[in-house]
């Protein structure tokens, strides 16, 4: 999965270039893919890892069971944090996606050149 977007670029095996191949090879499209990749991959890795390590931390890291206030431990704060963190990432995405929409619009206006 290391180069999920860039795979489309490498080579065009077919003899005749289709219009789609031209768009893929265009600089604008390549730039769009690169920017998307740079934005998407770190976030996906982050929220996957953030989700999967809680069970291990909560079970095996003593510090997680230290109380912060009342009966609330760090593990609870971590667990509840999924709600604001997810919504924050969601908002980040929509902002960035609006920017990508603009790029796509320009790309279409230029006819993929």
């Amino acid at each position: 999965m290391d180069n999920i977007y860039s795979n489309g670029v490498a080579t065009v095996e077919t003899e005749g270039h289709s219009k789609y191949d031209e768009i893929v090879l265009s600089q604008d499209f390549q730039q769009l893919l690169a920017e998307k990749r740079k934005f998407v991959i770190p976030y996906v890795i982050f929220f996957t890892v953030y989700s999967l390590i809680l069970p291990f931390l909560a079970l095996y890291a003593d510090v997680m069971n230290k109380e912060v206030v009342g009966g609330i431990t760090w593990a609870w704060i971590y667990g509840i944090s999924f709600i604001p963190v997810s919504l924050l990432i969601c908002t980040r995405y929509t902002k960035k996606a609006a920017y990508f929409d603009e790029k796509v619009k320009k790309l279409l206006e230029n006819g993929g050149k």
């Binding site: 999965m1 977007y5 077919t14 768009i23 976030y43 996906v44 929220f47 999924f82 969601c90």
Partner: protein, 518 residues
């Protein structure tokens, strides 16, 4: 039986019939039956997604889980919010840009082979039936507990009530029922939340100290390890739920009911805010149930904790609140089941009947007839199976479906969109291996085997130690798709690939077609 319950159930049934009447007038073509004509707005689809996704196990199961397991309830809850980020970041927009009516459409946009479409459709139908079973078994158990209606009759009532509006109103009626159900569910939960928190003087921090002594577990209630003592088991469950939604056909179909990627994206934002707010309330309702109803009473009513929310409603809100929560549960199950049936029936009518048998030449009338027949058959099979599976644990059935979807559909969806070298063999092998691999792991897991006689289907030592196979079966699905691609490499390397087209369309939308054609 409680009169208020009957009246509220009747109101829900009558409103669904009214919706159906309105929807049936708009359901004239197969396309409008399959995906509501692809005309929904983002708030509509966001609510419908919430209604589609929040099943009985979300509502009753999560509150029950927090009430009985304390901290361990989180493992069932947060992945079902984060999973929408998976959809948002990598699936929703390409799916909208490439698909038409079904998942099969999207995969075959790249591999124009009937086998690929056929396997995708069969896979969709199998996952749909499994998920429907989980819902029907939940419905049967629930109404037996809530209203004293026998299991078999409850299942049949839910099945028929759902079929009526699916048959006449298709996806339009289903979507509206899901939207209204989502509003009822979140609204009802909010009212219950206010009443319960009033009992704790709205002290959201103080309630934690109270929980230390509220249950027989004492301090341990607030710490991890009440139910899941093995980190790998909990992580495996989490992974299945995290990735499963992105492979669930009935959830994916919801992105085909909107006109474009922007609306698909905005509907995910809607559903995430709705579910996020819901999750906050779930934690405190779980606490409220544990403290006010008491774990002894909760377990007595249902060992899995499914009755925690209705019992809490009865205690703090009296008969009316109890009736209301029961009615909301009824609407919840009907709405979810309807979404699954429309998806399964569409896969049959559109993919198998029209595209494969009729080579895409079936008339509107033929397709409309076939999708209705398929809906009836799928419902019938599910009702029959659920009657024989009524002793099964509902949460287990539901989590199995998520893992199935994540192991068989997700690898193929991701590789189709993002991997240039992926080919037909990879798609076929990946899907079948993910499906069969998961089922085999479940068949040799502690769900089916227990050394203690009577605790599981068979007596004996389980060969596979984890109850949730996700952490093995999901990577296995990806690996199988990869190996299949290597095997098919020579056969398909010469072939012209349309990956450039897929890549361009998935990032820019279908409008590009007009541009390219000129």
């Amino acid at each position: 039986m409680n009169v208020k319950v009957v009246i509220l159930f009747a109101i829900i049934l009558i409103s669904t019939i009214l919706i159906t009447y309105y929807a049936s007038k708009r359901t004239k073509t197969a396309g409008s039956f399959y995906t509501a004509g692809g005309e929904l707005k983002s708030w509509q689809n966001g609510l419908a997604l919430a209604g589609d996704f929040m099943s009985a196990s979300t509502f009753l199961g999560l509150i029950g889980a927090f009430s009985l397991m304390g901290f361990d309830g989180f493992y069932l809850m947060y992945p079902s919010l984060v999973t929408f980020l998976v959809l948002l970041f990598i699936i929703a927009e390409p799916l909208r840009n490439l698909g038409k009516y079904t998942l099969g459409d999207m995969i075959t946009a790249r591999y124009k082979f009937k086998q690929v479409r056929g396997i995708t459709a069969v896979n969709t139908i199998i996952i749909s039936i499994f998920y429907m079973l989980a819902q029907l078994v939940a419905a049967g158990a629930l109404f037996k507990l809530l209203l004293g209606i026998p299991f078999n009759i409850s299942v049949v009532i839910v099945g028929i009530a759902m079929l009526i509006f699916v048959l006449f109103g298709g996806m339009t009626a289903t979507s509206w029922v899901q939207m209204i159900k989502a509003i009822l569910l979140v609204g009802g939960t909010f009212v219950l939340f206010l009443i319960v928190m009033a009992q704790f003087d709205f002290n959201f921090i103080g309630i934690f100290s109270k929980m230390k002594t509220a249950t027989p577990l004492g301090d341990a209630y607030l710490h991890a390890g009440v139910k899941y003592t093995n980190g790998w088991e909990a992580a495996s469950l989490t992974l299945g739920l995290l990735l499963g939604t992105a492979g669930l056909p009935h959830v994916l179909t919801r992105f085909l009911t909107v006109p474009n990627a922007q609306v698909a994206r905005k509907s995910v934002v809607w559903v995430m805010w709705i579910i996020g707010c819901f999750h906050v309330m779930v934690i405190f309702l779980g606490f409220g149930a544990a403290k006010l109803v008491g774990s002894k009473n909760i377990i007595e009513a249902n060992p899995a904790g499914n009755m925690a929310a209705p019992l809490l409603a009865k205690l703090v809100g009296g008969d009316f609140m109890f009736a209301f929560i029961s009615a909301v549960s009824f609407a919840t199950i009907i709405a979810v089941v309807a979404g699954i049936v429309v998806t399964g029936a569409t896969a049959f009518s559109h993919d198998i009947y029209n595209e494969i048998f009729k080579k895409g030449k079936a008339t509107e009338q033929q397709q409309m007839r076939m999708v209705r027949v398929a809906a009836i058959v799928i419902t019938f099979i599910s009702i029959l199976l659920s009657v024989s599976l009524q002793k099964f644990n509902v949460a287990f059935l539901a989590s199995l479906v998520f893992t199935l979807a994540a192991s068989s559909n997700l690898p193929v969806i991701l590789f189709t969109i993002y991997w240039r070298k992926f080919n037909k063999t990879g798609a076929v092998v990946g899907m079948l291996a993910g499906l069969i691999g998961t089922l085999v792991l479940v068949a040799i897991s502690p769900n089916v085997w227990s050394p203690v006689p009577g605790e599981a289907l068979f007596t004996g030592k389980p060969l596979f130690p984890l109850a949730s196979p996700g952490i093995i079966s999901i990577p296995f699905g990806f690996l199988a798709a990869y190996i299949g691609t290597l095997i098919g490499r020579d056969k398909y390397s010469e072939q012209e690939t349309n990956f450039a087209e897929i890549l361009v369309k998935s990032h820019t939308g279908k409008d590009i077609e007009r541009l390219v054609d000129n």
